[in-house]
Symmetry: C2
Subunit: 207 residues, 2 copies
């Protein structure tokens, strides 16, 4: 297991970026393999059989084992480090924000970004078009919840930056890409974004 972990990814995906950011903050080297999701490269028979039966990136390859789900891959990288709180309650509270990210934030903030910037509003299905206002409202509620918490705390869980901040930074800092959210509405989130970007080792999404 002295091998360098391999990140199977699509670089513009915030879910993939979370893993690169975690590795960078830890100083852990990773290899990167790029797939063009728009060309279906994660739905080929070979990808489904060998990398992820769920047809999704990111997947972190550790030796000959494959770990799907961005937040699980971040946890593998950071387990036992300062990015995972040592205190039992704070560790679970970090996971609370990471599950919130996947349930309340990503399907709204990230999906709207993908629909509006990658697919394009003109190409949306009727089912997607009817969901636009619902996802906009749910995304705004998720950002508001973060803003309220961050008005009283520097970080989402515990007393320092943790995987919770990395997981939620990824799509929050590009939330305006969808044209449906304005970060100026969430001043405590804006201050937190500045704090995350000042962390030693921080790398930008496009790096």
């Amino acid at each position: 297991m002295g091998d360098v972990p391999i990140l199977h990814e699509y670089a513009a995906s915030g879910n993939c970026y979370k893993i690169r950011l975690t590795a960078a903050l830890l100083g852990t080297p990773i290899e990167r393999r790029e797939y063009d999701i728009m060309a279906g490269e994660t739905r080929t028979a070979e990808f489904l059989a060998n990398v992820n039966a769920n047809g999704r990136i990111p997947v972190l390859q550790v030796g000959d084992r494959f770990l799907p789900e961005s937040n699980a891959a971040c946890f593998w990288l950071a387990d036992g480090t300062h990015l995972v709180p040592y205190d039992r309650f704070e560790r679970a509270d970090m996971l609370h924000w990471m599950f919130f990210e996947q349930y309340n934030h990503e399907p709204n903030v990230a999906t709207l970004r993908f629909w509006m910037k990658w697919i394009g509003e003109a190409n949306l299905s009727d089912a997607q078009r009817l969901q636009l206002p619902l996802k906009q409202a749910a995304g705004a509620a998720a950002l508001k919840l973060m803003d309220e918490h961050l008005s009283a705390h520097d970080w989402l869980a515990g007393h320092d930056l943790s995987l919770a901040d990395i997981a939620l930074y990824a799509y929050t800092h590009v939330a305006e890409d969808s044209g449906r959210f304005a970060l100026a509405d969430y001043p405590a989130v804006q201050s937190w974004i500045v704090r995350v970007e000042a962390e030693p080792g921080f790398v930008a999404m496009g790096a």
Copy 2:
């Protein structure tokens, strides 16, 4: 912290049941406080201010601290026990299945159960009605992925039952409630359900 944790819940919710099942398998006593979500009892000003600003159950109260997100509450209960694999990769792989549950399984299998059995098909909005076939297909894909994995493994992560099995058992074993899934289509899932229910300390959802 010698206090018994308090589960703020709606008993028919699979997300709440996960926490009761985890506590039961560990022999950990918990108190239960019931809220009627259909009557808006988790959206009152008092609930939002004191229990969960996200207006959702379950929330696990530990002393004077509140932990939302079902899978995070399960992690707090089980951290350091046999329900969380000791091996680093297996521990992250358990989280992989728990994030899969919240992203790919719950919004389809559980949401269809809620829409069809609680709200009723006649009362669905246009946006919900257009999503029915999409959620049915996505839920079937999630069950098929579990079935393929469980055809070759007794448990989802590692070599024993873990929180991954508890998290996915909760809504899988009642997937047929929506009228949109047949568990007979997933024989390895059916065998795994029998194994989960044979665990010492197992409690049923209605208990």
